[in-house]
Amino acid sequence: MDFSNLDFEPFYLSFKLAAVTTFILFLIAVPFAWWLSQTKSKSKPFLEAVSSLPIVLPPSVIGFYILFTLSYNSPIGAFFEETFGIKLVFNFTGLVIASCFYSFPFMVQPLQGGFETLNKNMLEASYVAGKSKFQTLVLVALPNIKPALLTALIVTFAHTVGEFGVVLMVGGSIPGETKVASVAIYEFVEILDYSQAHVYSAIMLVMSFFVLLGVYIFNQHHSKRIGIS
């Protein structure tokens, strides 16, 4: 088999998309998960349900609604294109927006779980020491949920790399723009190019495995050191 003409662009796109999505979601999900873990508000179950929807909905449903909301025919899509000259679908920007919706619960849930296991008295000790909620979040809460934090980051990243349905619907398959690894594999299978499909799939499989293995090794090591099980 000839590897020299193997096109790595879909992998590069997949990882770029995953990195950008993970970064944006981290900034959004940390305050959101922190708020969920601390609040006694009656709106909590409602927000939890909404934010978990992407786990249960078929990707095609999410893709359909995102297309419907962001395409040029919708007010939002028209506004962005006319005001900023930005198209929100069938390009990389559209993929990032779609991925942020799709992967949101995978970032929020481990973080919320981590925050909820923190000793409430420990957080109160920080308030008593004069630290604000934000300082407490950054200096006390986040450093003490490292395994949950790592899980959230990696699972979000991996889940975005593994996206297929939403990406296909919102992005199509434009080489160098929206043709990510999963879409590329689908196309190889469609044109019966099994050898290329094999190579791409094997690369995805091996990389995914080692990323997850790394996370679990870290978590085991970390829980021994800090004494959190």
């Binding site: 000793n119 008295n121 008593v128 020491a129 630290k131 006390v140 800090i226 959190i228």
Partner: protein, 283 residues
Amino acid sequence: MININIRKELLGSSGKMDLEVDIKIEEGSFVALAGESGSGKTTLLRILAGLEKAEGKITVNEALWLEGKQSLATQKRGIGFVFQDYALFPNMSVEKNLLFVKKDRTLATKLLEMTHMLELKDRLPLSLSGGQKQRVALCRALMNKPSILLLDEPLSALDPSMRTKLQHDILKLHKEFGTTTIMVSHDPSEIYRLADRVLMLEQGKVVQDTNAKDAFLKTRGSQKFSLQGELLEIIEADILYIAIVAIGQQLVEVVLDEKEAKSLKVGQSVQVNTKAFAPSLSQ
């Protein structure tokens, strides 16, 4: 002077109850809050810390901490709080736990020295014993030189010998820093050793405001010796009855006649009194 006049509705074990407290506390005094669990001691402490909402008025040396429902944020009260479960920051070393409150290395070193913890200053909390952890928590609570030090059953998770050592530390620090200290405790000996005033709470009200001796010394009338205990069992022995009573960690036998035995129930809280003998102490 600390003026506390607060109300709060609590959901106790026996339904709703009102926590209503109106007290004044002298600056620099050591006050113990005692009473059965669910009587509102910890809630009162948490209201003082601003960790729990309440209505009323709290003033601390002219500063207004609570008026009506307007409450000064916990962060701005400048208090020290020691939790029963230590609540140290696991990601920080002993010294960093202290410096987190205030970047004052001299004070941190002084506090750790006073509590014999200086050698362990680079250790993580996980590797410390319960007594050591609570010493760190105590030092941490004093890092911002608090006007009020609040202790919520600080020693109840420790074994008796460790308790005694830490009681000395608490007293030493209380005197050294001249703070007003308010401590929730169940332990009469602890309260006797530390506190100069005891507030006994029952169903959310202060029912007794006195010193430790009057609050816990049960001697009445001509009785010279009196111990509170729990009746564990009544054994019939020929014409007499023998009651097994648990007093603290000890079990004692008391002889009863039939009438007495019939009037008592196993599980009851009882007083063991004697007047005929002069008790003596030996080692």
